[in-house]
């Protein structure tokens, strides 16, 4: 095959370019990949249309699926109108066009499927399997988070925790590959092993079977599929031209029964195979992609060039904003560095002093704790592993009250009342909310990841500082080590 033919065979299509463009917009915070930190700006209150983990270092917006699970789990406190409205808006405007054109996970799956191996054809089996995603939507996205939220006041985004390969690949993988996050390996255990194996299985399935995750497992696709029939943008068939030859359905790699049904990802591949020119991709009455035989007036070349220029300008603007101009970035850059080498948060260094007002009215002043072993725990009401380990800290505190100084600290930004939350459990250890701008988080070298535990010896030196869950045995061992 000569060079020209190779290029022709693997030349990216317009849809592929749009997918790449959308993936870049979904993950516009590129410096996150270098620094190993996530974007913490206010723009993250906006949901993105595609499945893109918001714990990915590059993520510029919130994942709609993660957000809806959290919103359902918090139903007892606040109805999740916002996320529901966002998903409805995306659904009615774009439907599953999002899956076919915008979703970063869709792009990854299609690239994996490009590997030239023998493929599994669609069949009755795959068609039956395609209903599985509705079951996953009902159980993992709706029922489990709702039950645990209402009955136990616990946040359990079950799809994220047990299945989502985007979380494992982008969230966990995105952080673990960065040497700056080497300490994260300490928290890996059964959950990681399970999700890693699931991710590999899904990835392997995608190599052999077109968009396996999208077709069989993705609950977001299931939701958008419900809007497909009346979404503004989508593939439409002209009933007068259609001769029911079935070429469109035969050519389609998804488990569709009709063009534009709930399984259709509106990719528009069927437009080229329709001999009658009956299929086109439309936004309302505007034809975005029509058959070659289409008699409708095509946009002028100058308009196309203008459209491309605008698209590139928007991308540049978004990238510059998220990586350099966003106020949260500048705030982080302006944080003064520690002045002396001896003060820091690494093991062997001395933690800088801080004072916090506790919920019981007392004051925790770090400098006053010299001579005692100090345990500092950063937690949050929305963090399930944090809540699970709080009793261990309380038990340790009760067991060594005279020899331990302890404080559990909640981040400043929250809609819940941590004091009220803790009061339900009757913990005796001192608890406080971090100050404005989370100064203690900076002092202990905290990130957006919770829970974090810091242990100081009697001289105030750090003997342990890790973002990971602890067990009662581990806490006792840490106490024994720090008390030496």
């Amino acid at each position: 095959m000569d060079k020209k033919n190779v290029w022709q065979a693997f030349r990216p299509t317009k849809r592929r370019l749009v997918q790449l463009y959308a993936a870049l917009l979904h993950n516009a915070y590129l410096r996150g990949f270098i620094e190993g930190k996530i974007y913490e700006g206010k723009a993250k209150a906006l949901c993105v249309p595609g499945l893109n983990c918001y714990s990915c270092p590059g993520a510029a917006g919130a994942c709609p699926l993660g957000s809806i699970q959290n919103a359902l789990a918090a139903t007892g406190h606040r109805a999740g109108w916002y996320v529901l409205g966002m998903i409805m808006l995306f659904g009615v405007v774009l439907g599953r066009t999002i899956c076919g054109w915008l979703c970063p996970m869709g792009l990854i799956q299609e690239l994996l499927h490009k590997i030239p191996v023998p493929k599994i054809r669609k069949s009755r089996v795959t068609r039956t399997l395609s209903w599985l995603k509705y079951g996953i939507l009902a159980v993992f996205v709706i029922a489990v988070p709702l039950y645990f939220g209402l009955a136990k006041d616990l946040l359990l985004p079950a799809f994220c925790k047990y299945i989502c390969p985007a979380g494992t690949l982008e969230g966990a993988g995105g952080h673990l590959v960065n040497p700056a996050n080497a300490s994260m390996y300490e928290m890996l255990g059964l959950i990681f092993t399970r999700k890693w194996v699931i991710m590999l299985a899904i990835g392997l399935a995608c190599v052999f079977c077109y968009r396996s995750f999208c077709r069989f497992l993705c609950p977001l696709g299931a939701i958008y599929g419900l809007f497909n029939r009346f979404s503004l943008v989508g593939v439409k068939t002209d009933a007068d031209r259609c001769n029911s030859c079935g070429a469109c359905v035969r050519h389609c790699e998804m488990d569709v029964k009709h063009v534009g049904d709930h399984e259709c990802i509106q990719c528009g591949k069927c437009i080229a195979v329709c001999s009658q020119g009956a299929i086109s991709l439309k936004a309302g009455k505007i034809t975005l992609k029509g058959p070659e035989t289409c008699t409708e007036k095509k946009p002028a070349k100058s308009r196309k060039t203008l459209f491309r220029a605008i698209a590139i300008a928007v991308l540049c603007l978004v990238l510059v904003w998220f990586n350099f101009l966003d106020p949260s970035i500048r705030q982080r850059e302006n944080t003064p560095a520690e002045s002396t080498a001896a003060v820091g948060y690494e093991v062997g260094e001395q933690l800088a002093d801080f004072t916090l007002a506790c919920y019981d009215g007392s004051e925790f002043h770090l400098a006053d704790t010299r001579g005692k072993v100090v345990f500092i725990n950063r937690w949050a009401t929305w963090c399930t592993p944090c809540i699970a380990e709080l009793p261990y800290f309380n038990d340790l505190y009760e067991a060594h009250k005279d020899d331990i100084a302890m404080i559990v600290i909640h981040p400043e930004m929250t809609l819940e009342d941590p004091a009220e939350f803790l009061a339900k459990y009757g913990y005796s250890m001192p608890c406080a909310t971090d100050g404005e701008g989370d100064p203690v988080k900076e002092i202990v070298g905290g990130t957006a990841t919770l829970p974090q535990t810091i242990v100081l010896n009697r001289r105030g030196e750090v003997v342990y500082n890790s973002v990971s869950s602890v067990t009662p045995e581990k806490l006792e061992a840490l106490y024994a080590e720090a008390a030496k």
């Binding site: 918001y54 959290n70 919103a71 390996y185 399970r194 392997l204 029964k257």
Partner: protein
């Protein structure tokens, strides 16, 4: 085996590589977990996974990955394309699905409802709730632990 068999040999080789790579990476993680959990049972301060041990698993998979890459490059150069998973010839023949009646009305109602829900959500703190969750990493959710 003549040159025309390239269309069969390379896909099978690539398929074997893909499966083997996935098995090695999955088995490596399971072995690391079992080994690490046993060590942690003896000493609670031990980490189950370490960057070094994860690196060893990756190193074990590296030769196979290189074989996979070579086969992929060769298949691209030879123009071996994946055969798509189209349905058999007895696929359905049916009339196109008709658009629901009053589609514009439904669409408009849903858009208005969605905008109202978004505004209500912003007012009841739902947007801030999304922000709080999005700017903090839920380690359990992404599979870190």
């Amino acid at each position: 085996m003549n040159l025309t068999d390239k269309g069969k040999i390379l896909p099978i080789l690539l398929a074997v590589c893909c499966i083997a790579l996935a098995v090695i990476l999955a088995a490596g993680a399971i072995v690391l977990y079992v080994d690490g959990a046993a060590r942690r049972a003896e000493n609670p301060l031990e980490s189950i996974y370490t960057a070094e041990k994860a690196g060893q698993v990756m190193k074990a998979a590296l030769p196979l990955f290189l074989v996979f890459l070579c086969a992929l490059v060769i298949s691209i150069a030879l123009g071996v394309k994946p055969k798509t998973g189209k349905a058999s010839k007895n696929a359905v023949r049916m009339k196109p699905q008709a658009e629901p009646k009053h589609v514009n009305t439904i669409r408009t109602v849903v858009i208005i409802a969605a905008v109202i829900l978004i505004i209500a959500g912003i007012l009841n703190g739902g947007a801030l709730d999304v922000l709080v969750k999005a700017i903090n990493i839920c380690t359990e959710c992404v599979g870190l632990g």
